[in-house]
Symmetry: D2
Subunit: 455 residues, 4 copies
């Protein structure tokens, strides 16, 4: 096996191409501003960085495996075209800080994409919850997969809404630790050139620099953290998927998935399988695996840069891609399922019966035992309750009686839906702000580059 083939990382690096071009532009704008390189040379560098970028966009940039990575490929391109003088472009920079800067640029982009997708999912859930609540879709709530108490499909949907907004919040928290600029840390010790790291960070749309130069190149806890967030997100998604699979069996009959979102069998003509939910559930494995991957890489890895770190990008990008696909397809599928009313076992009102007994001055634990005895033994409830009191206690009635905040009662659900709509707006506002900051950096960089090129 040729060494180059083993050590190269172009497959994943390809995705860093544009980030790397931006990186080089910002870095050289800073070098120019700080008087470290000359305007003439900068102009040459920008010219060929633009050329390389165009080629890449047109799918014409050929990446050479023997050059190891994307950074060396771009540098070589600029030097071959612009001449040896362009060799200044790597001044006060090392691949160590360069690659992790690129990675952070791409990671924040993917994180924002995931937040956007989660927002869509949450909106779809909210819409369905609102419809279902109006239609008063009552179905059995389960504990231990056994019918427990009557509930509302809208309340069930809102539970997932809340879980997914926590997933958003987690990614937003992590984002604060992602969107920091390591550039200018060089190999790990900083540099003797009088650079301005804050300026580069601004051009690249970062919130700030990650200050200590050793920490900047050696740490990858932001990768482990975002992969944890995605793994947890997928655990939530896998639980929803599992419920969709079970609820759409003919036995449970609580969910109907529209045909387009099911698939058939090669041998059994009658089958309509919930493959999408199954695949999402199955892909949870990959997310957990990718998390263990990065944690294993980091275990006992000495500081500063070691080549092991090259392996951080495969799980990172793979998890984002899979998670995003899973959220998108789940959102679509959810928009195409129907939650159905369901006749429930008659014992499902047992808790409410016990609660009712407590209004007759029977302490709860005793009331509980009475109801239990009436179900499994010989005790007749009519010793304690009038016939009408019992017969009036339908699932609908149980639901209507609920009074506690957050409970499965149509009015409470209605209130929560209204509240969650407000939450969506707040998340959207924060999302817009994050994206704006990146765009501003991008715009500023391109303007300044254009300015120099056209001077």
């Amino acid at each position: 096996m040729p060494i180059e083939k083993f050590t190269q990382s172009l497959n994943t690096d390809k995705r860093l191409f544009k980030a790397d071009i931006w990186n080089s532009k910002a870095h050289n704008l800073m070098l120019l501003k700080c008087g470290i390189i000359e305007r003439k040379t900068a102009k040459q560098i920008f010219k060929y960085l633009n050329e390389a970028e165009k080629k890449f966009n047109d799918d014409k940039f050929e990446l050479d495996e023997t050059l190891e990575d994307v950074h060396m490929n771009i540098e070589k391109y600029v030097l071959e075209k612009g001449g040896e003088a362009c060799g200044v472009m790597h001044t006060a920079r090392s691949r160590n800080d360069q690659v992790v800067t690129d990675t952070r640029i791409l990671t924040r982009e993917l994180a924002n994409k995931t937040i956007g997708n989660l927002l869509n999912l949450c909106k779809a859930i909210l819409k369905k919850a609102e419809e279902d609540n109006k239609n008063n879709i009552i179905f059995p709530g389960y504990t231990h997969m056994q019918q427990a108490m009557p509930t509302l499909s809208s309340h069930w949907l809102l539970a997932y809404f809340d879980a997914f907004t926590r997933d958003i919040k987690r990614i937003e928290d992590c984002y604060k630790r992602i969107n920091l600029c390591p550039l200018g840390s060089a190999a790990f010790a900083g540099t003797s050139f009088p650079i301005d790291r804050k300026y580069t960070a601004k051009l690249l749309g970062f919130d700030d620099i990650i200050e200590n130069s050793l920490d900047a190149v050696a740490s990858r806890d932001f990768v482990a953290e975002i992969l944890s967030d995605l793994a947890i997100l997928m655990s939530n998604l896998s639980r929803l998927s599992e419920e969709i699979v079970i609820f759409s069996t003919s036995e449970f009959g609580l969910i109907e998935i529209s045909e387009k979102y099911t698939t058939g069998s090669s041998i059994m003509p009658q089958k309509r399988n919930p493959d999408i939910a199954e695949l999402v559930r199955g892909k949870t494995g990959k997310m957990y695996g990718n998390l263990i991957n990065i944690l294993t890489i980091l275990k006992a890895l000495p500081y500063s840069y070691n080549r092991d770190m090259q392996e951080d990008k495969t799980p990172l990008f793979d998890s984002f891609d899979e998670v995003n696909a899973c959220i998108e397809i789940t959102t679509e599928m959810l928009q195409n399922i129907k939650l159905k009313k369901k006749k429930m076992n008659k014992e499902i009102i047992a808790t409410d019966l016990a609660n009712l007994l407590t209004t007759k001055k029977i302490p709860f634990r005793k009331a509980y035992n009475i109801v239990k005895e009436s179900i499994y033994g010989n005790l007749d409830l009519k010793k304690y309750l009038k016939k009408e009191e019992i017969s009036i206690l339908t699932p609908e009635k149980c639901i209507a009686l609920r009074k506690s905040r957050g409970s499965a009662n149509p009015k409470e659900v209605e209130r929560m839906i209204k509240d969650r709509k407000q939450k969506i707006k707040e998340i959207e506002k924060r999302q817009a702000k994050r994206i704006k900051k990146i765009e501003n950096g991008k715009k500023l960089t391109e303007e300044k580059v254009l300015n120099i090129l056209s001077s």
Copy 2:
């Protein structure tokens, strides 16, 4: 195997005892306030809850395995002593919301403990960094474990300081999702009793309630998140441990661990082994394992409560215990190591030589090649630099020349130390606020209970 033995969870539950007593006090204070139970009964309940607590503190409360868990043991105690009327104490509550409330109470306590320990570790690091920076401890910086550029031990220490404060921040972010009160969600659907969940939350020192009652009992992403945070923390700690092991070999000779913090061999009389660092490194495995444990439990687990969830507490408490022990012992050990100056390979100044060449109008990439050729080939650097220019470039000089923000230069390190001292203060302030909130809830509960008991 007796069923009870298999299904019981008293070993871990024991740690929930006090939280569960507090839980019951707050819940019954609320029931009383909302007119759901009577003052007389409440008084009985509080009397025997206090008695049970005292017995437990005196190690005299006998937990009965056949009663499954700690909640049933306490309820039974109160009912046996206070009479059947006390059976109201479980009104509007289920073990589902009760146990996760207890778990959140204990989790936030352990999280605060971990933050406190990390603070101590950070302070110890900062103190050593300050001393080392004054003493100008220069040693080789490594990439790929090969000597790369000269650096300062103080700068190396600060890199870990920054990593560990990120660990603190991560736990603080998670804390916002931990410190929410599920109580009153009952089995999963809420209750028909006119309870006041916000009031209970306040008595228990929570920031707010976790609203949707299904989400409240079914979700455990807060467990997965904190276990992720602890796993990431341990990955950082394992990296420090690895460096301590390697740096304290006779070959590297960069670190001397005081004898008390090393151990001997049963067969080799001369050995002084860095066992503590090794054990911390090894315990990383458990933290990763515990994370996978909870993620596996949650994978495809249908909502609301399933008995699988009982298994969340073992990894949760175990990770906290191990992490806290690891941080404490590492803090002590760090206070007892000595970082030592080290003569470095002469090539360690190669990058600075290349940088120097760029001041002679040689582009960086060419300068790099010249230095490389001078090391591995026949090229004589004196073609480009005067003898004095070369000989003056000592490791000390290289370090002194560094100008970039965050770099390994004594002045820059001094500035960072000052800044980090300020950061410590801010964290301490937030920590105090969190603890105060819990204490206030506790105090309020006890006052109200006392008030009723003495009326």
Copy 3:
């Protein structure tokens, strides 16, 4: 935190006590046989080893935490009682080889226990399969949790039988790598004393020595392998548990668990929950976590002994304990469930209809499309089949028609049951042989010790 508290491992070591005594007896019998120690000293050593063992059995041996581990505790006991001359007992031995020898002794014992438990589980499955097959319990087979084709509960049970016997085979394969003796490797390089490693191995009931002394103390792949085997076993057990949970819902109604093996709710009087199956499913997380634990410990751990390895025993013993409990309780529960006949969806015979059409010279793919069209479209099957042909195709008939080896046909199942009974006998024979070998070593050791003591 006191260093000793952090570094000690007595909690898990306790379980190695008896193995360590045996280890010391065998080692010193060998030293005596090889002329390395004197008979008189050996006698003293054996006397106090026996005394220590007796104390331990009577729960009277006090382990001193400051002595780190069980080996040092025992050695100290013998030296204090028997005098300084007994200090020869550690000749040609190090804790490095000693502890891994103890660990292997306990591991093989636990492995045999697990095999024994799996045998019991398999026998319980076989017994139930035999009964069900006689009673012709037909129920729906599922793919994608959708009713797919009619099947037999006995065939379903046999599928698990085969999975669990593979689990046995895997452990047996691993056993060959477990039951090898490292003793005499000393720290890692062997020793200058003229010891006889094969003799010690024989006394300790090992199949052979693990030869290379560095490999012997540094390798723990046998731990990782057995933990993999247990994790895989638990994945199988979790699948059975999941099916039991789902099949015992009122919706599916395929399985009835006897009340004793279900548990109730603290708030819902009607509940009978399949907690055992849920707990087993949940405990899968721990097994996966323990596997990741050891793999993480081993990742990038330099040879020979490092203190990290002390951490191998917690996941090792914990996994065995949990797995054994899970198998035992599942066996019991299985003996107390009833599999029930079930009316199936009428489309469940669709595949057999398609197969029937192929007998009319219609190629399978076309036949498949015809049946599909007849279910979801307007096509009338009677265009292709006579009414009687269709109506005769009941689930019972479909099952009776199956001809392929291994298929869900009562006669084929009967043949398989007979065959599996034979398989059980073969496994039992191998199990007996393994246990005999250990007992022989034990007996030989004790005889020789007694011989010396009574001389």
Copy 4:
């Protein structure tokens, strides 16, 4: 996101193409032999299967994403070309059994490749060990990374040899569970067609059938097992890699890697980094992650087929590819490293000094304490030993004195090398036998197909 894009698996399926063609040939040869299809139709099927295969080999077969998987693509090709009558080719078969058969065919091929690569690695190690043993390369042995006792590089190499041959054995054990044929199990219940599963198994080079048809399609423990084996293998490889990284530092200076197998830095001209060893170490993360991936997929997955299982192939093939690359490159690198003699710390002979003291009738523990005191305290060893006795105890002498089986003594190493050469031969013999069996099946299939085509 289009459903087809989400559910399709062509990227990994592509690798199953040839296996699937072979599968279809064998299956239809069997259908013909059993009188289920006609010779004329079979001929058509074989003709277009061959055509499809040729197209695929020429990179001209276009896989249609909307057809989900490779099986449907091939079936469609044959039906379009050969007409509707070829629709019989899926008779008595389902994708459920078909895909797992293909997977097993490819898995055994990859397993044999891995064994072959491990054999090469072992031979390279053995060769180097033999040379080093002749040259008597003495270097320090480490425990806790501290110099412990003098040892031989040949002995160190042999330790890894033994670990890697255990890895081979583990894969061979798993192979027995991989190389079983599920074909003919259809969806999961078998089929009413009078098929001959043993015959198909023979044509496909399997050792036997996997009998129970439900077990055959539902179980994936063979995937989990082989991924465990590869993960364990990588843990061994990561330990070797770690030692290479550390031993090749300028500080340790025990290993010199030839320049070709090191890489440079983009900023530091002097660097020669052991990137290959670092990358191998880093890739361990992926192997652990892939294992967790499949274990997570399998956790609580109900029987028979669920779409989650489609996700088993990505980690399976990825692990094999990475492991094989890692072994190949490590083998090459090992052939290009030089192990170097090393002056050791003078205390490295301490254990041998203690052993020497025992020849003066001093019990080992006392001897140990004397030597310890002589190193760290004031005790003069000359109280117990003559000056000559001490001075003669050089590292070379210590090594020469070792007598125990498996120890680091040149003669013992020589004996072990001879023995390991024999072991290599035995493995090669078993490997040849496995490959022969596959080739025979392939040959038989092709002959019979040709026979029909040319009739």
